[in-house]
């Protein structure tokens, strides 16, 4: 049974990609897209049930490894992916109708989209760290053209930067993988499974800590580039601004999270050999860097897509702080925050897409009176804005409070500066320093909140400028928005049992069982 599910996971996108190249009617393309997505989701649900029932398992002869964590990531991929596909229906047709993209290029678009999806699924289910690396690199290659899809100068520039920076980052990650292998050889011998998580985890405590430290740094910097952690984030705002809305929704909603997942997987191994405070410290460091930087950059945004891009950086930072601080609370909060961010952010970009279609501008100053011009979109924008500024009743409020509480209670795990060179040591886990970090956290969240809502309220309220059509009919593209909103509100008050179990098991896994 799980076997089939896994096969479906891998084959559905592959098949869909292949088909998208040959069929030529957009309706058909969408049909294929939706079918494969829904197949994916069903498979995902089956897998979740299996995982929750009888724990982690491997399939296809050690090639695939699935546990609660990967199931959780798959859940996000499935949910956001499905939402995107629903949204694309109206969006892409509109693009074609307005002649922004030639009809025949739809094939390419959908092909790349499915490849992108496939690569992400693979990266999530892969047992071997190496294969995971290959998959993640593949996501870069698949998306670089999607980002530059509107062959404008800016989009080309954005695509190029994305390609170069991410490839470089990923290569560094590869070196990390090599080092991991290097360390595992001595324990497992020169076997082809020596990179498999299933093989590594049991023996992880025998691996050489020093090599693993090096490996983790390379992996962190490498995949961190993909996540968009400061200071490896520079490609992100450009790419998010230039790419078509559904693509950005996927990038922001899913790709980042897959990359985070890759880092967490590596961390699980490293933590066995090295004290968790090492990895935790690094994660928290980059997390704070991202959070602070993004908070300030949010203040000066005049382009709503860039605004959301920076808010992505911010929230990845917050999640990283959660993981860095660790402990049941921090980790749970981090995972939960990933989910909430995925939903809120994809919603935000759907809204952005609609706005752009109506106002033909990404300048915030050009957009006003959304509540009158596009009530549904206005609602979506407002809700996502509130969720992204972590206000109740939205789930992100809960996760953020969990994270900040963990931070205040435990502080950042200390001594990540004790190096072989005998560097300065300071532990950031006593009451006052953890409080000061909490203060920093709160300050940044207030800044981000003000910046984000200043822009969003500016767009939503008021009266629309002359020559803007008023009113907005209901389309299929609005369905995902409503569903996501409902989910965000719902999760703010109670988590459905399976989801909660999934989260708790994933937390357990990350906490070294």
């Amino acid at each position: 049974m799980p076997m089939i599910a896994v096969l479906v996971l891998l084959i559905a996108p592959l098949l869909a990609g292949g088909l998208s190249l040959i069929v030529h009617r957009s309706a058909l393309l969408h049909a294929i897209n939706l079918t494969s997505m829904s197949l994916l989701v069903t498979a995902e649900i089956m897998i979740t049930r299996t995982v929750l029932r009888d724990g982690p398992f491997t399939e296809l002869g050690q090639l695939v490894y699935l546990d609660a964590l990967s199931a959780f990531i798959l859940f996000i991929i499935g949910a956001v992916g499905l939402a995107c596909s629903l949204y694309m229906r109206s969006y892409m047709d509109d693009q074609v109708a307005r002649g922004v993209i030639a009809p025949r290029r739809l094939n390419l678009f959908f092909f790349l989209f499915h490849m992108f999806l496939l690569a992400m699924v693979l990266a999530t289910v892969a047992n071997s760290v190496g294969v995971q690396w290959v998959a993640i690199e593949a996501t870069t290659l698949a998306t670089t053209f999607l980002i530059a899809f509107w062959r404008r100068r800016e989009s080309l520039e954005a695509g190029w930067k994305y390609l170069i920076l991410c490839s470089v980052g990923i290569s560094l990650a590869l070196f990390g993988v090599v080092l991991t292998y290097y360390s595992s050889l001595h324990v497992l011998g020169n076997v082809s499974e020596a990179l498999n998580v299933t093989q590594l985890l049991p023996v992880a405590d025998q691996l050489n800590p020093h090599v693993l430290k090096l490996a983790f740094i390379f992996i962190l910097v490498g995949y961190g580039t993909k996540v968009g952690l400061v200071p490896m984030h520079s490609w992100l705002p450009d790419a998010y601004t230039e790419a078509p809305a559904p693509v950005v929704a996927m990038l922001a909603g899913v790709l980042e999270i897959v990359a985070v997942y890759a880092i967490l997987r590596m961390r699980m191994i490293v933590d066995h050999a090295v004290s968790p405070s090492f990895t935790g410290g690094l994660l928290a460091l980059l997390g704070f860097a991202s959070f602070v930087t993004a908070a300030f950059f949010l203040l000066i945004q005049h382009n709503y897509k860039r605004l959301f891009a920076y808010s992505s950086i911010e929230h990845m930072g917050i999640a990283m702080i959660g993981f860095g601080v660790g402990g049941p609370l921090g980790t749970f909060g981090g995972l939960f925050h990933l989910l909430n961010h995925a939903f809120a952010k994809s919603m935000a970009f759907f809204a952005a897409g609609n706005i752009h279609r109506r106002f033909h501008s990404v300048e915030i100053s050009q957009v006003q009176g959304l509540a009158i011009a596009q009530p549904w979109t206005a609602m979506a924008l407002m809700i996502s804005g509130l969720a992204l500024s972590a206000l109740p009743p939205f789930a992100s409020f809960v996760s953020e409070v969990q994270i900040v509480t963990a931070l205040a209670a435990q502080g950042v795990p200390g001594q990540w500066l004790t190096s072989n060179g005998g560097m300065v040591t300071f532990a950031l886990s006593d009451q006052f320093s953890s409080l000061s970090l909490t203060g920093l956290f709160l300050l940044c969240s207030v800044l981000a909140f003000s910046a984000l809502l200043y822009r969003i309220t500016g767009m939503v309220w008021g009266t629309p400028p002359e020559g803007i059509v008023r009113g907005e009919g209901w389309t299929l593209g609005h369905l995902p928005i409503v569903v996501l909103a409902a989910a965000l509100v719902g999760f703010g008050f109670f988590l459905p049992q399976p989801l909660r179990q999934l989260l708790e098991h994933a937390t357990q896994i990350l906490l070294l069982h």
Partner: protein, 221 residues
């Protein structure tokens, strides 16, 4: 025939050293086509190293890896790059972000850094490949540095590929090759990446009518 491990390791070290040397050459070289040639040469040395390791350890899949490297990095990619260079008719790197002597100095520093970092973990390595891990890291860093130092898109690509070489050296020399499936994946990715980059340079040329990446600064705060 049989070579004593000691000599074997000497040989491997020698090859790795040659790789490193070519790196310096690339950093010093201003003419793009020459850079590409040097890259091809470096890849050739890489093939040599891989073959040597394969021969000494006698596990076959390194041969495959070596062969692939030969095909992709010695033949295909340099070809593509040459084509691109001809089409864009950019002969020389007129301006660099870092001038050559300074660049060389920095690279020296990077090599030292690489040795400093890897020194505590070298003893773990196999007898054959004492220092190649350090060298591999050095090459990766130098490649990275080249990408920063050069302005033309093509030379940045070369830098990227040099990084890849370093990685491959690390993979083969230090660990006697990654699991095959991974190797294949990596090669596939590198190939695609190079091709995509090639296409991009063309498009950039069309859009900006030059490939000086310093002009790519419209997107900023």
């Amino acid at each position: 025939m049989q070579i004593s491990p000691h000599i074997g390791s000497q040989l491997v070290d020698l090859c790795s050293a040659l790789l490193l040397l070519t790196c310096f050459a690339i950093v010093a070289q201003r003419r793009l086509s020459a850079c590409v040639d040097l890259f091809a040469l470096q890849s050739a040395f890489l093939v040599l190293t891989a073959a040597l390791v394969a021969f000494l350890t006698g596990n076959p899949h390194i041969y495959i890896a070596a062969a692939l490297t030969g095909v992709i990095k010695v033949v295909i990619i340099p070809r593509v790059l040459k084509k691109v260079i001809e089409r864009l008719n950019v002969k020389r790197e007129l301006v660099m972000n870092v001038n050559v002597p300074a660049g060389l100095l920095i690279c020296g520093a990077l090599v030292m850094l690489a040795f400093f970092i890897t020194q505590p973990i070298i003893p773990l390595g196999f007898l054959l490949t004492r220092d190649s891990l350090a060298i591999a890291l050095a090459i990766v860093l130098i490649g990275f540095f080249t990408m920063i130092a050069r302005q033309k898109a093509v030379s940045q690509l070369v830098g990227f590929l040099v990084m890849e070489n370093g990685l491959f050296l690390g993979a083969t020399a230090a660990t006697y090759g990654m699991p095959l499936i991974v190797e294949l994946g990596v090669f596939f990715d590198v190939l695609i990446a190079a091709l995509i980059a090639g296409i991009y340079t063309n498009r950039l040329q069309d859009a900006f009518d030059n490939v000086d990446t310093n002009h790519l600064t419209t997107l900023k705060e």
